[in-house]
Amino acid sequence: MDLTLKIWRQKDAQSEGRFVTYQVTDISPDMSFLEMLDVLNEDLIRKGEDPVAFDHDCREGICGACGLYINGRAHGPLKGTTTCQLHMRHFRDGDTIVVEPWRAGPFPVIKDLVVDRSALDRILRAGGYISVNTGSAPEANSIPVPKEAADEAFDAATCIGCGACVAACKNASAMLFVAAKVSHLSLLPQGQVEKRQRVLRMVAQMDEEGFGNCTNTYACEAECPKEISVSHIARMNREYLAALLTSGK
């Protein structure tokens, strides 16, 4: 199939960006979206032009590196799918596809479609862990965890940190990302000890990074490639309220 691509090109963080239109031909429906961009880039390199920069790594939907805003949707039109797992069979011959980087204040554009998502790491570093030194862990089966709790914790822990929730949210809020970690750890007995401090610190860091406020549009859940439920946001709200009321300060 033949496609018209309108891709955001921006030389670096300081430069103004703009859309550039490219034509790609003979695209196989079995190609992934990134493989289609590879084809474009090979062409550009042959012509001596700068290829389109985009983040990607594992290309099997788990590392969370890729993330493009395709035709107005985070990771494109398919539900529960990262950009690298989006295949061209979901487009039609002759389509025009608009490709933009994630847009959010805390995700500045680095180049073309590459953005800086280090804000997410900084949030996790503000207490998004259980403090246990190597070697000091008790025997694994000494902490039974109800299967339901373990399963639900897993559902939250499956977050790949791609930032699609922020990209899709009209407020550029990172609530689903933060809630996924808060919820994962607060569901498990191991996470109880630090749960109050954890939620207070992570939320404070989230705010400091400049993410917007959640207004419950649930766009995050709809666009999350791992389909993480907004019920985790509710749990975080609950945990936050509990922490506020009992933090003793």
Partner: protein, 637 residues
């Protein structure tokens, strides 16, 4: 130089304990006077960084990805082995050790493998304490499943995302140390050289991938945890960015390279669909627990699978290996799949695939159970191929997945350069000629959490606190070389893209240094690799400049190293005149077509020493002695 593996004396059960008891220690107050560099943030790197920082060392961590959490350990699906014997099915440390040694076809060190099996139980404890949500039974205790190459259920898993969950656990431990100010992370930095001062590893030169800045970092020791080099085959299940550059530069600075040709081909991957294919996707081996592998008995049978009657199907693994059936080790499965496809009985549009059929399991257990076990894998399959594996059998084909070879390390995980350590997949150590399923995660974490924190103290205790300034001529020299090599890549301005050449290299490697190897093929490959390397340096086209985010330049540097490494792999494969594990030389097979080991001549680790550009590498042998198990011809029949 003679290789000293520093394997402790004594009974195998006591070696590690005894060794630990006699390693030198660094006192708590002195640990903060030492700077350590960790390159790579997968399971091995992240767990090492966390554990070392917990001890009090100053740790600097480097990764090329935008975040440490994206390291490719994240993609491991199936699970992690541990000799917990929670299932009461007769598992033990000894059995895990034995299975691993046997699975590796007796080309790994007994002492290392035993230690790995011993530490496996601690890993599970550690991960659970960090909040890793492993699968559980209704009683709240941990669940297990079985995996290829084993007759017990000892694999712990978190749906099909065990690697992700373990890595996020290790990263969270590391994040805690970042929070406490003991670890400094340098994301989007690529190590481009190792700096050796007075014969000791004292730092690295890295390129900031955003700005192009070339910068030196000094330390008392350098730990490489940079993963495998499966991407030398272009198509592999590795992440696109996975590369050999760090270990290759270390090799060129004097670290020996162990068993470079041992590369594992994973039997259950989604087949190639076209020339544009950029990577291959693994379907977890756990699928072979319930899926049955078959092809039509007739050559060129093009009927849809559901129309092929039962008696016209050949369940070739079950037929040839009645004891293990579909659960034979990876190399055996891969070779057999290639064989039936070469016979013309392959299926799918390219004929380069076999069926993995779940219809019997669905009949027996119900769709719900299968969905519970493999739901996300089936989804992944459908997303990529557009086919529903609940209705029609999956198509699978082998793909390069894991590299057993890597930098040679001693029992302390130190390379032949003092102060340079290699952890996880980038060392050669524990898997011999073939890795068992669910053992890679185990090794990465054992190395990082439980080995390096002990062994590195032994080295540092004698080293002294003095730091080497990055103004030292050795740093300046390395920086200069890095800059020159980048300039050279940018100045060629030829006509072929990096990917074109890489694809071509991959084809040579797959055809001649892949599942099946022969003397003739390997010699041919050597010529082709050399020609291709020459072509690369004459005719490659790299666009853009060095002072910016330049993916084309990054790729070129990595492929340049692959082009050298490929040659070493072929040399190693050629010299090993036997078949063992994944290294299958057609000249050396039993009458039944199984790998024929030659323990008399090849029971050693081939450690190659760099001799300078265009010089043949020098072979050193570390003889392997088997005191506790007796090498036997592997049989999974």
């Amino acid at each position: 130089m003679t290789l000293n593996a520093k394997i402790p004396e004594g009974p195998i059960e006591e070696k590690w304990t005894h060794h630990k008891d006699h390693l030198k220690l660094v006192s708590p107050a002195n640990k903060r006077k030492f700077d350590l560099i960790v390159v790579g943030t997968g399971l091995a790197g992240a767990s090492a960084a966390a554990s070392l920082a917990e001890l009090g060392y100053n740790v600097k961590v480097f990764c090329f990805q935008d975040s440490p959490r994206r390291a490719h350990s994240i993609a491991a699906q199936g699970g992690i082995n541990a000799a917990k014997n929670y299932q009461n099915d007769g598992d033990s440390v000894w059995r895990l050790f034995y299975d691993t040694i046997k699975g590796g076809d007796y080309r790994a060190r007994e002492a290392n493998v035993y230690r790995l099996a011993e530490l496996s139980v601690n890993i599970i404890d550690q991960a659970v304490a960090q909040g890793v949500p492993f699968a559980r039974e209704y009683g709240g205790l941990l669940a297990n499943r079985s995996f290829g190459g084993a007759q017990v259920s000892r694999t712990f898993y978190a749906r099909g995302q065990t690697g992700q969950q373990l890595l996020l656990g290790a990263i969270s431990a590391m994040n805690r140390q970042v929070d406490l100010g003991r670890v400094e992370v340098y994301p989007r930095h690529e190590m481009l050289d190792l700096v050796v001062v007075d014969g000791r590893a004292r730092g690295i030169v890295a390129r900031n991938l955003l700005t192009g800045e070339i910068r030196s970092f000094s330390a008392h020791a350098v730990i490489l945890a940079t993963g495998g080099y499966g991407n030398v085959y272009y198509l592999s299940t590795n992440a696109k960015g996975s590369n050999a550059t760090a270990i290759w530069r270390a090799y060129k600075r004097g670290a020996f390279f162990g068993n470079p040709c041992f590369s594992q081909i994973h039997p259950t991957c989604i087949p190639v669909s076209g020339h544009y294919q950029s990577k291959l996707t693994l379907m977890s081996e756990s699928l072979r627990n319930d899926g049955r592998v078959w092809v039509p008995k007739k050559k060129g049978d093009r009927r849809p699978p559901n129309e092929i009657p039962e008696d016209e199907r050949d369940y070739f693994l079950e037929r040839k290996y009645p004891a293990f059936g579909n659960l034979v080790p990876r190399d055996v499965a891969s070779r057999n799949i290639k064989e039936v496809c070469d016979e013309g009985r392959g299926v799918g549009p390219t004929g380069m695939a076999v069926y993995l059929d779940f219809s019997d399991a669905i009949k027996r257990l119900g769709r719900d159970v299968i969905e519970q076990r493999y739901g996300n894998l089936f989804e992944m399959y459908e997303r990529i191929t557009g086919e529903d594996a609940y209705e029609t059998p999956m198509r699978i084909y082998p793909a390069v997945h894991y590299i057993m070879g890597g930098l040679w390390v001693d029992y302390n995980l130190m390379t032949t350069i003092p102060g340079l350590y290699a952890l996880g997949e980038c060392n050669f150590s524990d898997h011999g000629a073939n890795r068992l399923g669910a053992s890679a995660l185990m090794q990465g974490l054992a190395d990082g959490y439980f080995i390096i924190p002990y062994t590195i103290g032994d080295y540092l205790a004698d080293l002294g606190f003095e730091k080497v300034d990055t103004e030292h001529p050795a740093f300046k020299e390395a920086e200069k070389e890095v800059r020159e090599s980048i300039k050279r890549l940018l100045s060629i301005n030829g006509r072929r893209t990096v990917d074109e050449i890489h694809r071509e290299l991959g084809k040579v490697m797959w055809d001649y240094v892949g599942i099946v190897r022969s003397e003739e093929g390997l010699n041919k490959a050597l010529g082709m690799i050399r020609d291709l390397r020459e072509e690369f340096w004459r005719n490659v086209k790299v666009v853009g400049s060095e002072r910016e985010l330049n993916a084309s330049l990054e790729k070129a540097g990595r492929v340049a190293d692959f082009l050298e490494l490929a040659e070493l792999m072929a040399i190693d494969a050629l010299h090993r005149k036997e078949s063992c594990g994944c290294h299958f030389r057609v000249e050396y097979q039993t009458e039944e077509g199984e790998a024929q080991r030659d323990d008399e001549h090849f029971a050693y680790v081939a450690a190659w020493e760099y001799q300078g550009p265009d010089q043949p590498p020098r072979l050193h042998k570390e003889e392997l002695s088997f005191e506790f198990v007796t090498p036997t011809q592997r049989s999974y029949k």
